[in-house]
Symmetry: C2
Subunit: 434 residues, 2 copies
């Protein structure tokens, strides 16, 4: 009998000696593994950051884009410029004016989602070993990008008004004293991902003054700025200064993410570099997507649509906060976001959100453990709870299940005297609460 020999891999990865150094810091994110679980229908996922776009006018959009293809297909389906199409850059200036920004379309570069905008900015500024400052906690996807360019991420403390200017100053001085170049401060001033915290207007001014004094660029990432729930849009940091700030914007939350259209607004000299970077990265950002979004903006009352989104997310946020009030055990605290998608929860003393994850899954609820949002191992008592995607009823039910899981864990610890060990190096950051 001729049974073929089982193919045995002699080395796990035969290319291991050929990869670039920068790949060493990259590891499959715990968040991605989590999403496979979170997507199971029986699970209430408070883990994802997907916007709920079911209320978009699909007939209007379908007809507008279909007609556009018939009328101008050969142009809108061909190559475009690396900087992006002129018309959408003009329309973006109108969008940004809602947050007080005065800008020229010439100072914009379109990107394949604002993630790619951040990639271009990091590529343009960061050498291996350079320091990038970021809020504590900060967006997991940004931390991934910084790591992929071998940056050293240094976190800067926040309180209920956002990043603390004095902490920014101290971190910059300390990094420089250690011989490091500080390339920029990365901040999500509006409804920070993951904490939901809003940087107060006064703090924006203080932060900008510190940045100018220290000569550190601020990278202002603003996907949620128009999705404030309790108040009108706040003035962007970029609206206060055009030279010190590189601004990242996105249509992913105010329209739809699948088109992958974001943008970078930067000083003219930086724009030149970003265009070159975009050419070598993609030749040109998605052309068809740009025309499609231009058409949507021209066809539909997009400002009213954003108002509808705000109402929709308000209901969801309220449902989550009500659920947390009703179901969280004593000792748990959480932020009260005024917009955006996320609540940041701090578990009672001694809990570990990574370890709780399995129990939460068995209670059919998912969240993102806090450590994902720190480059330095902090966040083990925290979790990010998102209210953007499930219905209000499911969100409320999710908090109930989460409460059950925590209570069960608490009871086990009381009964059996279990103590959840802290991993080495996992010191709890100061509590963030709003």
């Amino acid at each position: 009998m001729n049974i073929p020999e089982k193919r045995v891999e002699t080395r796990i990865d035969p290319y291991v000696d050929v990869y670039a150094d920068r790949t060493k810091g990259l590891k499959a994110s715990a968040v991605r593994a989590l999403f496979a679980v979170a997507n199971r229908p029986e699970i209430v996922s408070l883990a994802g950051g997907m916007p709920n776009i079911t209320d978009l006018p699909l007939d209007v959009i379908g007809n507008a884009i279909g007609d556009l293809i018939k009328a101008r297909g050969p142009q809108i389906m061909n190559y475009g410029g690396a900087q992006g199409e002129e018309r959408i850059r003009e329309q973006i200036c109108e969008v940004m004016s809602l947050e007080g920004i005065e800008a020229s379309p010439d100072d914009l570069v379109i990107s394949c989602g604002s993630q790619q905008g951040l990639d271009l900015v990091t590529r343009t500024f960061v050498d291996p070993g350079d320091v990038v400052l970021a809020e504590a906690p900060s967006y997991v996807g940004a931390l991934g990008t910084f790591t992929s360019y071998q940056a050293q991420v240094v976190h800067v403390a926040m309180d209920e008004d956002g990043i603390i200017p004095e902490a920014f100053r101290a971190a910059t001085v300390a990094a420089r004293a250690a011989g490091k170049q500080v390339k920029f401060l990365y901040t999500i001033p509006n409804f920070n991902n993951p904490s939901g915290i809003l940087l107060s207007v006064e703090r924006r001014r203080e932060l900008l003054a510190a940045a100018k004094e220290l000569d550190v660029i601020i990278v202002e990432d603003n996907p949620y700025g128009l999705l404030g729930i309790d108040q009108p849009p706040q003035p962007a940091i970029r609206s206060m200064d055009a030279d010190q700030v590189i601004y990242l914007g996105s249509f992913s939350k105010t329209f739809a993410p699948g088109f992958r259209v974001g943008w970078v607004l930067a000083p003219p000299a930086v724009v030149k570099k970003l265009i070159l970077a975009q050419e070598s990265a993609t030749l040109c950002p998605p052309v068809f997507s740009q025309f499609a979004i231009s058409e949507y903006l021209a066809t539909w009352d997009w400002k009213s649509q954003i108002e509808d989104f705000r109402s929709m997310y308000r209901e969801r946020r309220d449902s989550m906060l009500r659920g947390l009030d009703d179901h969280m055990p004593p000792g748990a605290t959480w932020t009260h976001p005024k917009g955006g998608f996320f609540v940041w929860l701090t578990l009672p003393e001694g809990f570990d959100s990574d370890q709780l994850s399995a129990r939460a899954t068995s209670h059919r609820v998912a969240y993102v453990p806090g450590t994902a949002f720190y480059a330095d191992g902090l966040g083990s008592r925290n979790m990010r709870l998102s209210y953007c995607f499930p219905t209000p009823e499911r969100i409320y039910e999710g908090t109930r299940r989460l409460g059950e899981a925590i209570t069960e864990e608490m009871e086990l610890r009381t009964t059996f005297g279990l103590v959840t060990p802290h991993s080495p190096g996992r010191v709890q950051p100061p509590e963030v609460r709003s």
Copy 2:
């Protein structure tokens, strides 16, 4: 009177000390500056690489995509996976089977155009100072990407059958003797951009054997493989070996570039790295575009469409070759491509295609000077002439104008004894002719 003081910039670029080292090699490409001229309507542009997609069934595509939005908008306009959508990866396997490739959808990563696929591959493998081997001449956009990762590009000679395996071997040995890591050989085997040369099947086998012996990865970039004019598709190098070859594919020439959908087919271990790289670069490649192309492939007889493209480009190539026969002065030689978009022309001894450029513009014709396609300053007697976009009549007229410009230059040189100086370091490469 209160006249505002003119704002004087004290430094040309205030951020010059903050940029990453990798930005230093990047300069505004001469090609881009050229395109501004080439796009003027009175100019016959033989410079661009834009496919002619006017024959696509716009009504069919418009209706299909419009209906898709109405039926499945909230899914196709939301975030997707970093690896790309499963259905299009399956369809791509069917596309690649036309060139003899057997592959699993699991081994594919979707990219924002195949340019971004190349960016991800380079990011995954290349450390500053590493050697990347590339044909002489090679695609300008690839050279830009390699430079942006601070690779040292070493060119490998071609002849009328494509890249010369012995030259590949010698270049690898020499680089290693100089203490360099050779990360991969980048090749466009089908109708090389810019030379139009087809790598013969026998050469593919020899090249692969050499790569295995030397343990060098081959990056096979194949945008034009299905656009052969005179023969059926050739077997891809990847069809002969799954471990030694990373394959880049694209819908830009067989469908339309504006959707920005390309792909990388790689060994499983490499795919894992590429997915991580894609996550940090874009979160996910254009989702809507992937669904749109899936729908086109499912709705339309795309294979017949490619046949139509082949006929259309055959007519254009023939028109260019006829025009060159009719109008080129003695001493000029050129390749006779069997597919793709480009003819590579060598001017008579003593000419410089960069210098001829202005005269060509005054004769209302544009091309890309050959130096764009070398990392080392060669190519000054060459030019790339593309026949993809203008009508056959315009192409023929373009060659007539080009002949005029060259003849005029020749006459001036004869009359006034002008000698075009070679720039230092610009040695002419061996003539490539097919």
